[in-house]
């Protein structure tokens, strides 16, 4: 056996050519050098970032804490927070990529500085990351953190599976990060349509990175969906009937159902593409009876419900934000619930609008066009409900409400462009143009992203015990809003002028001015993210002044505000009994909040488990090995999964008991503090006087 044989046996097709600067050294032309420097710089950021993190953790001796308090924790709150940290890291990367795309196109008249291949990687990773590793972790994290507290539960139904889901998602994200350093990512967009992505045209590792990142995260998300749905069905506090659930929980339920049923097509389609590439199947190849059109069909069977997976939790956040910051009950609760359900079901009936131009008959297009327009109706109902919630309320312009207001205007515009696109004959004109890119960003940024940011500001105090800095928060919100408008409204015009999406360069000088405006927008958006980072640093520094230990900084209405901030590990010292919608608002009004329960009981909680981390590492290695054809490693890690699961099934120490005395002591200390604090009025909400107790809510005779 030669040395090279041995190398291939161990490292598969990994080699020097997989390094980001190899091209540049082999062919030192100006273009290769520019692209090489950018690619190497990105790789360096990943490697150095990882090294610095490791160094800092070691220096401050935080490995133990990280392991036992976070990575192996199965507490839904901590898992939620970890998801959101992942989302922010990935947001930073994808936003920088968006800036690069924009800069290339701003400079793209007759050229630009990026090679077509590099540009294609950028929009593919940007899209893939934003959807699967930014948006999904963000909303899953938020639901994880909030939903069990809203329904009066101590955790989700399957805490360890929750940690495994996180592990699978993180493994997928890690694969996308590794692709910056070793080899290249896929170049066929976030949708990865064959036959272009088949082995015949794209034999390299790029498509395989996409496949395994997607497969891992889709399995993780299916498990998350099951977990959330069962939790909401089975773990609600006594008296919390379905129609007493907060709206955020309702949207979480509908999103969970969508995950359960819409993720399988994605898992299927990614694995079918893998079979084509690895085992010479012919699902989607050009010849031998393959049918690439079925890929588009299956992908969008997932893809359209996916956009509602993304938007529904944001709707939930907005519902909470509008009613809390208007100091009113949500207007039209029942209609909002039915609208959410209608959207969830209808979202399975419209997938074809993503490929109106594929060649099916006009009748089929017409059916799906009509169904698409129908979805607009329940969405419209919601917008009216939110506006009427504010009507005659005492509206407070805090950061979450600013996002919500921007959403209510901008989202309607995006929806209108969507109704246009739902008409097949119009879609034929603008399909795959920048008009479409403008449309979906118009839904995703004011819809999903602003919703998540609003939720982040809203519930941050509950997670960490202090409020985020209000001034930086406002600045950031205004930057996100104006940046979005500048970056995407020009794209509507460009699309109508005929500019296609995913274009590395163009020859029509009329595009350039619009492109420059969009570039400014992208810069403003980058500034917006930067201010968010600054806000976090400032807020951590001033955490003492902004602390809200009593736990109700916004005069909240649902159960999560009825407990301390940060929430105790067991959430509720005694599981509450619910008699109405908005239970905490009702309790405050009736002066029954902040009371000692008649008795405390021992609390059983799940113990930490390393399974999530094991599956994360093993799953990541499996994906990596498959990408690089390291068969031995692939087999080993594939075997490790069942071995770990079986071994775990013999472990019987899965629960720990918190003694009633400890629960009592903590709860009483908190109650004592609540009785000491001065309740503050809403005018002082964003001042350091706000310690988390809203005005005259303490029951006079609670002892």
């Amino acid at each position: 056996m030669t040395a090279s044989d041995l190398w291939h046996l161990v490292f598969g097709r990994l080699g020097l050519q997989s390094l980001p600067f190899w091209d540049m050294i082999q062919h030192p032309t100006p273009s290769h050098i520019i692209n090489g420097i950018i690619a190497t710089g990105a790789a360096a950021v990943v490697v150095i970032g990882a090294l610095v993190t490791v160094f800092l953790i070691t220096k401050y001796r935080k490995w133990g804490v990280l392991w036992s308090d976070w990575l192996t924790s199965v507490d839904h709150k901590k898992i939620g927070i970890m998801y959101i940290v992942l989302a922010f890291v990935m947001l930073a990367r994808a936003l920088i990529e968006a800036l690069l795309i924009r800069t290339q196109q701003a400079d793209g008249l007759n050229g630009g500085f990026l090679s077509a291949d590099h540009f294609a990687q950028l929009f593919s990773t940007h899209g893939t990351i934003m959807i699967f590793f930014m948006a999904m972790p963000f909303l899953i994290g938020l639901i994880n953190f909030v939903m069990p507290q809203q329904i009066g539960a101590r955790d989700v139904s399957f805490p360890m599976m929750n940690s495994i889901s996180l592990g699978l998602t993180a493994a997928g994200a890690a694969l996308v990060m590794v692709s910056l350093v070793l080899g290249k990512f896929e170049t066929g967009g976030w949708t990865a349509y064959p036959p272009y992505t088949e082995a015949a045209f794209n034999p390299g590792p790029g498509v395989d990175y996409w496949i395994w990142a997607i497969a891992l995260s889709s399995i993780g998300t299916t498990m998350t969906g099951i977990n959330f749905a069962v939790t909401i069905y089975k773990k609600r506090a006594p008296g919390m009937t379905l129609f007493r659930m907060p709206l955020f929980t309702w949207t979480a339920l509908c999103t969970a159902i969508l995950m359960i049923f819409a993720m399988p097509p994605l898992t299927a389609v990614s694995l079918m593409l893998a079979l084509d590439r690895y085992l010479d199947f012919h699902f989607f190849t050009n010849g031998m009876g393959g049918n690439m059109m079925n890929f588009a069909n299956l992908f969008w069977l997932f893809g359209h419900p996916e956009v509602y997976i993304l938007i529904l939790p944001a709707f939930g956040v907005y519902s909470e934000v509008f009613s809390t910051f208007s100091g009113k009950r949500l207007y039209g609760y029942t209609s909002l619930v039915y609208a959410t359900m209608a959207i969830a079901v209808l979202s399975f009936t419209v997938w074809l609008h993503h490929f109106f131009t594929m060649g099916q008959s006009a009748n089929i297009n017409a059916v799906f066009g009509l169904l698409t327009m129908i979805i607009g109706i329940p969405t419209g109902v919601k917008i009216y409900d939110w506006l009427l919630t504010m009507y005659q309320g005492r509206v407070r312009f805090t950061v979450p409400l600013i996002y919500a207001l921007a959403f209510s205007v901008l989202f309607v515009l995006g929806g209108l462009s969507g109704v246009l696109l739902a008409n097949p004959s119009i879609d034929f004109q603008v399909h795959n143009s920048l008009f479409l890119v403008a449309h979906f960003h118009n839904m995703l940024i004011p819809g999903l992203l602003f919703g998540m940011l609003a939720g982040y500001h809203f519930w941050f105090p509950k997670a960490f015990g202090f409020r985020l800095d209000e001034r930086w928060g406002r600045l950031s919100a205004y930057l996100w809003i104006s940046g979005f408008i500048l970056a995407f409204f020009p794209l509507y015009a460009l699309g109508l002028m005929g500019m296609t999406r995913r274009t590395v360069s163009y020859f029509d000088p009329a595009y350039t001015p619009w492109m420059l405006v969009a570039e400014v927008g992208a810069l403003v958006l980058t500034a917006a993210l930067t201010t968010l980072v600054i806000q976090l640093i400032v807020s951590i520094r001033e955490r003492k002044a902004n602390a809200v230990p009593v736990g109700d900084p916004w005069d909240g209405r649902s159960l999560e505000w009825a407990i301390a901030a940060p929430s105790p590990e067991w959430n509720f010292p005694v599981i509450p009994t619910v008699t109405d919608r908005d239970p905490f608002a009702v309790a405050k009004a009736q002066h029954t909040a902040y009371q000692s329960p008649p008795a405390y009981e021992d609390i059983t909680l799940p113990t930490n488990s390393a399974m999530g981390m094991i599956i994360c590492v093993v799953g990541g290695l499996l994906g990596f090995a498959l990408v690089w054809h390291m068969w031995w490693l692939a087999i080993l890690s594939a075997l490790a999964v069942p071995v770990a699961v079986i071994a775990k099934s013999f472990d019987t120490r899965t629960e720990k008991v918190i003694p009633a005395a400890e629960v009592r002591q903590q709860h009483q200390a908190w109650l004592a503090q609540a009785r000491q604090e001065t309740p503050i009025s809403r005018q002082l909400e964003t001042s350091p006087d706000n310690h988390g107790l809203a005005d005259n809510t303490i029951a006079e005779a609670s002892t």
Binding site: Y233, F261, P265, N291, M293, N294, N297, L298, L301, F348, T349, W351, L352, M358, G359, Q360, S361, I364
Partner: protein, 106 residues
């Protein structure tokens, strides 16, 4: 634990019925195919219908899904899944068939 004989025999009877019906509903289409018992188009229909009935038999006798109100939740879940399956699988077949007719006819 005290063994509840009546309940035991009832449960046993259910499994026996399930097996009997399943075998019957399998034997008929297999025999029809083996002995070309019907013209192909009729045969396809019969296979489909008998298959569907057998699926219901399995749900009823092996998975114990019935119409009693205590199990409504599960029945709803199954019916919802079936609805989505009809939409997804039916839609796929409809669309792909139409495309094949328009584009791949040789």
């Amino acid at each position: 634990m005290k063994r509840n004989d009546a309940q035991y025999h009832y449960d046993l009877r259910i499994y026996q019925w399930g097996l009997g019906l399943a075998l019957l509903l399998t034997a008929i289409p297999f025999a029809l195919v083996a002995f070309h018992g019907a013209p192909p188009s009729v045969l396809l229909w019969m296979i489909g219908v008998l298959g569907l009935i057998q699926v219901i038999v399995h749900f009823r006798f092996f998975l114990h899904i019935d119409l009693s109100s205590q199990k409504r939740e599960d029945l709803h879940l199954i019916l919802f899944t079936v609805l989505l399956l009809v939409i997804m699988a039916g839609g796929t077949i409809w669309i792909m068939h139409n495309l094949a007719e328009r584009m791949m006819a040789s």
